[in-house]
Symmetry: C3
């Protein structure tokens, strides 16, 4: 039987041996496991970026997939290693909120603390739990030698990142944030597409245009569109919107709902 897919999402970068070494541990204990890199370029210690990446990728993998997410500023401290079962997939990660965007919907999940040291590498280091704890725990699950309950006991609650969802501060106005800026400079907000017409405020910039796709937009135009992420995104055609806006992940975005005649319900300053 082919082992399930194991995905890796980390902030390790690709310059060192770290991701290759994790794969060696997995393949030593689960020969033939298909390993897929989601990304290893999460900005160091950025839980929001890690949460965003895994929340986007995981739904496109088959049931049984084991997602290993190692963005772990607290490695070596008392933060727990987690196993979460959600929508017929497994997630192995530190208990620091990095899974909370994937889990922030209504469906139920089951969480366990990974405590079974017999499944780990002997003498785990205090700085590379990806190699010593997370990879071998994933391999034990993937090769069928351990069931979820073998990894450790159930947990009542897990850590959650704050401020993941926008907040309506007054009627027609919501405060959100930038979840991610992609390789092309597209700016991904945490707003789902509203039913009414709308505009976005990002710093001094006011984005009033909404497009279906990039093609045909003048290169200097900043416009909003419903991104492949399911969120409202801001782009320029063939250029970096993030650079034009001068923004970073985590920055504030305000959404203004408009009347059907195209005027904002609120007078903008």
């Amino acid at each position: 039987m082919t082992p399930p897919i194991i995905t890796l999402t980390t902030d390790f970068g690709l310059q060192d041996h770290y991701t290759g070494t994790m794969k060696g541990v997995i393949l030593s204990r689960c020969p033939g496991a298909p390993i897929v890199d989601i990304t290893h370029h999460i900005p160091p210690f950025s839980l929001y970026a890690g949460a965003y990446a895994i929340s986007q990728a995981a739904p496109f993998f088959p049931p049984g997939t084991i997602h290993v997410v190692v963005v772990d500023p607290g490695v070596g401290t008392a933060r727990k290693p987690l196993l979460v079962e959600f929508e017929r997939q497994f997630f192995i990660a530190p208990d620091n909120g990095v899974l909370s965007l994937r889990l922030s919907h209504d469906a139920a999940f089951t969480a366990r603390e990974i405590t079974n040291r017999q499944l780990w590498l002997p003498n785990p280091s205090s700085t590379f739990h990806g190699r010593d704890i997370f990879a071998p725990s994933a391999a034990a699950l993937a090769n069928g030698s351990a069931s979820p309950q073998d990894l450790g006991p159930l947990l009542d609650r897990i850590e959650c990142l704050p401020d993941l969802e926008p907040i309506e501060t007054e009627p027609g106005i919501s405060q959100g944030k930038i979840l991610s800026i992609d390789h092309f400079g597209n700016v991904i907000t945490n707003f789902r597409s509203p039913a009414a017409t709308f505009s976005l405020r990002i710093g001094p910039h006011h984005i009033r245009d909404f497009r279906q796709s990039f093609g045909g937009a003048p290169p200097d135009l900043l416009f909003a569109y419903l991104g492949s992420s399911g969120y409202l995104e801001v782009a320029r055609n063939g250029r970096s919107a993030a650079q034009a806006l001068g923004v970073s992940p985590g920055d504030a975005v305000t959404l203004h709902l408009h009347d059907t005649i195209g005027e904002s319900r609120k007078v903008l300053p």
Copy 2:
């Protein structure tokens, strides 16, 4: 039966979830498919760089390989998604010329427009056709559930990039261009190796030395050599030739054929 290899060549970079998500789509629909990254660091929207990369890599893959090339400045516009069969391999790409360096030789190819939406992801986005159209079409071909004709109808012609081949402007003088600059700063031209002795003009620089390999060349010497690409390349030993020349992909290169006594047939300015 093992599925065929699926390769990926994109300008997505590796910082986002995009390539991992495409792999999730492929492996969900074609479990066990061996996926190989050619590169995801094509400069954004650079059709020439994408054309060069896939033309170099494809010949080294076995028959049946499915090459997915997503460099797609026109995503979401009317440009067609393509399936091309050439020399017993498949190429899936937007119809924007990105395949034309691979196809620029004499052998015949067959091209189809990918129109079968039943093979795509439901509700495809207008900005991530790699995930929603190209990956699932490749998976349908790879898992044997669809034949090429199931993907869509034959096309009479496809787009071609201009100026891929050098042009002889006068006897003994040809105008070419820089196809690519690699990680080491080696400069790859679009000249095949001439039978006669030659020199190259790149901006104010005149490269008269020809070497078989890097070893032994003084570190400041700019020299030409027949690269592993099959093209004339310009290098320095252990240093970046591109930096010394101050050039970028697309820049002009002039090739001068010389008489056997080593003089150019034309007096150089």
Copy 3:
């Protein structure tokens, strides 16, 4: 039978087609071979960095793994292509010392010069031996069509990098070096952890603190710890120690053993 794992460690970067092309060669000749990238971001021509990466990763792979290491400033010159058998794994690399950190322990190894051109690609280039010599030699070994002795004759000795191990210059004082600086800015020295208390000198900096892990350390504190590498490393909590120290791989580090009362055996200048 599943082929053995083939790992790749190079200084090719990921922007070009080079690593993808090598994988095409391997998979054409050994279908189904699991290929694992250790890293392709070894700094160009840096033998020490390549030696460090493969020495860290290899022990975590299973017996039979074939490690292909292509950091090859002498490509195309008379330096030999090597096959080394060590601790039930294979290493294919140029004979330039890049394997010497992995081999620097006591166990015996067997080295061969790769001379069997029938296993190579026809008409090998003089600049891309990764594609033309190393990849097909690895594939021939992996698919079982060649045994180690088929690749070429035994060698009496192979090249070794100098200065890999620290040197005790006077009682209680040893001169070492920086082996690597990782993605997080952690500084990896070539000192194993001493039994006594110690401090480290790096340029004008004197590191006196020793920690078990990053958690809880004040962000400005430079501290030493026993890294996952098995070496002493220097870090800051959540920041780059390398930047604070202003150091590069190869720079000198001095280790001072201290008396148990915490004083250095030597008066520091």
